[in-house]
C-alpha cells in the first residue's frame, strides 16, 4: 500500500485545506466570505447526514428538524436567557442529540422506506410546532437579533471578535468543520465504523456475527443529530435570525442532495456538495423560477449519469489514469 506523504489521498486534501485557510486573506470580497462561511455550515450538516446515511445506511429525512432544533436551542438560550454563545452552542448540540435519542429509539425499529417516511413526518411535526408555539419561538415573526459568538480573550490583552468580522467567523466555523470531519473520520476507520457498514450491508448478517444492529444504528443516528445541532447553532449565530423555515423538510432535501451530489459514503463528498451546490444555486439566482427548473434538471442529469456523485466520478477518472501507466 502507498503510504508516502505524497500519495494523492493525502496531498489533495492538504492542498484544499491550505486553500481554505489562505483564501479569505487573499480577497476582501464579503460575498465570497459569506459563501465560504455557509459552505462550512452546510459542510457540517452534510457530513453529519452522510454518517448516518452513507455509512450506516439509514436514510434519515428528519435532518432539517435537528438542524432547526440546534439553531432554535442556541438562539433561544442566548436571546431569552442571555446565556453566552460558548455555553449555548454545546447545549444546542446536546439538545439535538437528546431529541435524536428520543426519536431514534422508536423510529430505528422500522426499516427502509418506512424509516425514511417516518422521520420525514417527524420533521414536518417539528416545523409546525416551532411555527405554532409562539410564546416560545415567536412563530412566523421569527427570532430576531441573535448575537454573534462572544469574543475570545487572548494573552497580551488581545481578543478575537466575531461581530462584523467575517474572516474570524469563517475561521471559527472552519475549525468546527474540521473537528466534525476529524470525529467522523475517527468513527469511520474504527471498529464502530466497520459495524456501521456491516449493518448497512445486511442487518441479519451483522447480527449473526455479534453486532447489535439497533445499538449501532442508534449510535450513528445520535452522533449525526449532535452535529446537525452544531451546524444549526453556528447558523443561528452567523445569520442572527431564525424562522420556522430553517427546520423545514426542504432543508433536509437540500442537505440530502448535497451529500448525493458530492458522493455518498465518502468523507470529501458531502463537503464538495455543500460547497458547490449553494454556489450554483446563488449563481442562478437572477433567473428566478427558471433557476429552480435548471437546478431540477441538473439534479436529474447528475444522478443519472454520475450516480455516485462527484467523488465517484473522480474515482473513475483516477483509476483510468493509473491503469494507463
Amino acid at each position: 500500500m502507498n503510504t508516502s506523504p505524497l500519495r494523492p489521498g493525502f496531498l489533495i486534501p492538504a492542498a484544499i485545506l491550505l486553500l481554505a485557510v489562505v483564501a479569505p486573506l487573499l480577497s476582501e470580497n464579503r460575498y465570497l466570505h459569506h459563501l465560504m462561511i455557509m459552505a462550512c455550515v452546510w459542510g457540517i450538516a452534510a457530513t453529519a447526514l452522510n454518517l448516518v446515511m452513507g455509512y450506516a445506511g439509514q436514510v434519515n429525512l428528519a435532518h432539517g428538524a435537528f438542524f432547526g432544533i440546534g439553531a432554535y436551542t442556541s438562539g433561544l438560550l442566548m436571546l431569552k436567557l442571555g446565556i453566552g454563545f460558548w455555553i449555548a452552542l454545546p447545549l444546542a448540540c446536546l439538545t439535538a442529540a437528546l431529541f435524536g435519542l428520543l426519536i431514534g429509539m422508536p423510529s430505528l425499529r422500522t426499516k427502509g422506506a418506512y424509516f425514511a417516511i417516518g422521520t420525514l413526518c417527524f420533521n414536518v411535526i417539528v416545523t409546525v410546532i416551532i411555527d405554532r408555539w409562539e410564546n416560545l419561538t415567536e412563530g412566523q415573526r421569527g427570532l430576531l437579533g441573535i448575537p454573534p459568538p462572544s469574543a475570545i480573550p487572548l494573552p497580551f490583552g488581545l481578543t478575537v471578535r466575531f461581530d462584523n468580522n467575517m474572516v474570524a467567523t469563517y475561521y471559527l466555523f472552519l475549525i468546527m468543520l474540521l473537528l466534525t470531519l476529524f470525529v467522523t473520520r475517527r468513527i469511520v476507520v474504527s471498529l464502530m465504523g466497520k459495524d456501521f457498514r456491516a449493518v448497512k450491508g445486511n442487518e441479519e448478517l451483522a447480527a449473526s456475527i455479534g453486532i447489535n444492529p439497533f445499538r449501532t444504528k442508534l449510535i450513528a443516528f445520535v452522533t449525526s443529530t449532535f452535529f446537525a445541532g452544531l451546524a444549526g447553532g453556528l447558523y443561528a449565530s452567523y445569520i442572527g435570525f431564525l424562522s420556522p423555515d430553517i427546520s423545514d423538510f426542504h432543508v433536509t432535501f437540500e442537505v440530502l442532495i448535497q451529500v448525493m451530489f458530492g458522493g455518498i459514503g465518502t468523507l470529501a463528498g458531502p463537503i464538495i456538495g455543500a460547497t458547490i451546490l449553494p454556489v450554483i444555486s446563488e449563481t442562478l439566482h437572477a433567473l428566478a423560477a427558471y433557476r429552480m427548473v435548471a437546478y431540477g434538471v441538473m439534479l436529474i442529469v447528475v444522478i443519472i449519469f454520475l450516480p455516485t456523485g462527484i467523488m465517484g466520478g473522480l474515482k473513475i477518472v483516477w483509476t483510468k489514469c493509473i491503469t494507463r501507466k
Binding site: R109, Y114, F122, V124, I125, A289, V293, G296, L299, P307
Partner: protein
C-alpha cells in the same frame, strides 16, 4: 351529532381523493420500487389541465377530466422513460433524488407558465342538499362516487386485462415475471402512466372545491406517503382503506381534538403507529 355527521361526510369526501392519490403512488412503488415524490406535482398538473380545459377551452367538466387523465398518462410514461428507467438498477435513494429534481422542474414550470396566483373553477355542481342536519354540495357527492368508480375500474383493469395481469405479476415477482416472458420495462412504463392518471383524476376532482395553484401538490404527496406506509407499501387495499381512514381522522380530529395542529394529525398518527408497530397497520413482518 350534526357536527359529527358533517365531519364524517367531509372525511369520506377528502378520503376518497386521498385514496386515489395513494393508489397511484402505491402501484408505482409496488412495481418500480420508486418513492415518487413528484406524484403531488402530477396531481397539480391534472388539476391545472382540467381547469384550463373547462375555463379557457370551454370543455365539458367530465371530458376535461378524461383528457387530463390521458395527458398525464403520457407525461407519466415519458417521465418513466427519461428519468426513472436509467435509474432502475441504482439504489432507491437515487430515484428519490431524481423525483425531488422532478418536483423542482414541474412546480416551477407551472409557476412560470401559469403564475403564482390561485385559480378558482367556475361553479359546477353547487346545488346544496340537506338531510339529517347535514349540508352537502352535489360536487362532493360526485367526487365520492367518481372516486369509487375509478377504484373499481382499476381493480377490474388489474384483474381482467392482460396488461393488468402483467402488472400484478411484476409486482409479485419481477424476476419471475421476466422469466415468464413479461416485458417488465414496458410494465414499468404502463404503471407510471396508470398511477399518474389516477393522480390527475384526483386533482381534477378536488380542483373545484379547493383552489388550483402551483404548490398544491406538496402536502398531498406527504399525506399519500403516510397512507401507503400505514396501509403497507405496494398494497392496493391498504391504500384505499388508509386513504379513507386518514380522511376521517383528519376531519373528525380537526373538529374535536385540535384546530391549531390539525394538519399534523396525519404525521403524528404515522409516527405513533410506527412506534407501536414498525411495519405499519397492515404491513407484514419483514
Amino acid at each position: 351529532m350534526d357536527l359529527f355527521l358533517q365531519q364524517v361526510i367531509n372525511g369520506i369526501m377528502v378520503g376518497s381523493v386521498y385514496s386515489l392519490v395513494a393508489l397511484g403512488l402505491t402501484i408505482i412503488y409496488g412495481i418500480l420500487g420508486v418513492p415518487n415524490f413528484a406524484h403531488g406535482s402530477l396531481y397539480m398538473l391534472g388539476a391545472y389541465f382540467s381547469f384550463l380545459l373547462v375555463t379557457a377551452g370551454g370543455v365539458n367538466y367530465w371530458l376535461a377530466i378524461l383528457i387530463s387523465m390521458a395527458a398525464l398518462t403520457v407525461i407519466g410514461m415519458v417521465i418513466e422513460r427519461i428519468v426513472f428507467r436509467p435509474l432502475v438498477n441504482a439504489p432507491h435513494l437515487n430515484s428519490f433524488i431524481a423525483a425531488i429534481g422532478l418536483i423542482y422542474v414541474i412546480d416551477n414550470v407551472a409557476l412560470i407558465v401559469w403564475g403564482p396566483d390561485f385559480k378558482r373553477f367556475p361553479p359546477l355542481y353547487d346545488q346544496l342538499y340537506h338531510f339529517l342536519g347535514v349540508t352537502i354540495t352535489l360536487h362532493r357527492i360526485i367526487i365520492v362516487i367518481t372516486a369509487v368508480v375509478l377504484i373499481v375500474l382499476l381493480e377490474l383493469f388489474i384483474k381482467k386485462t392482460t396488461i393488468g395481469s402483467a402488472i400484478e405479476a411484476t409486482a409479485q415477482d419481477r424476476v419471475g415475471a421476466r422469466l415468464s416472458g413479461i416485458n417488465v420495462t414496458r410494465v414499468d412504463m404502463w404503471t407510471l402512466g396508470l398511477g399518474t392518471s389516477l393522480a390527475a383524476a384526483a386533482g381534477a376532482l378536488i380542483g373545484p372545491i379547493l383552489l388550483v395553484y402551483p404548490a398544491m401538490g406538496g402536502a398531498v404527496t406527504l399525506k399519500a406517503f403516510v397512507i401507503i406506509i400505514l396501509g403497507g407499501m405496494g398494497s392496493i387495499p391498504g391504500a384505499i382503506l388508509g386513504g379513507f381512514l386518514l380522511g376521517l381522522i383528519e376531519s373528525i380530529g380537526g373538529a374535536y381534538l385540535t384546530t391549531n395542529y390539525h394538519e399534523v394529525l396525519a404525521f403524528g398518527l404515522l409516527v405513533t403507529v410506527l412506534a407501536i408497530k414498525p411495519t405499519g397497520l397492515f404491513g407484514k413482518a419483514h
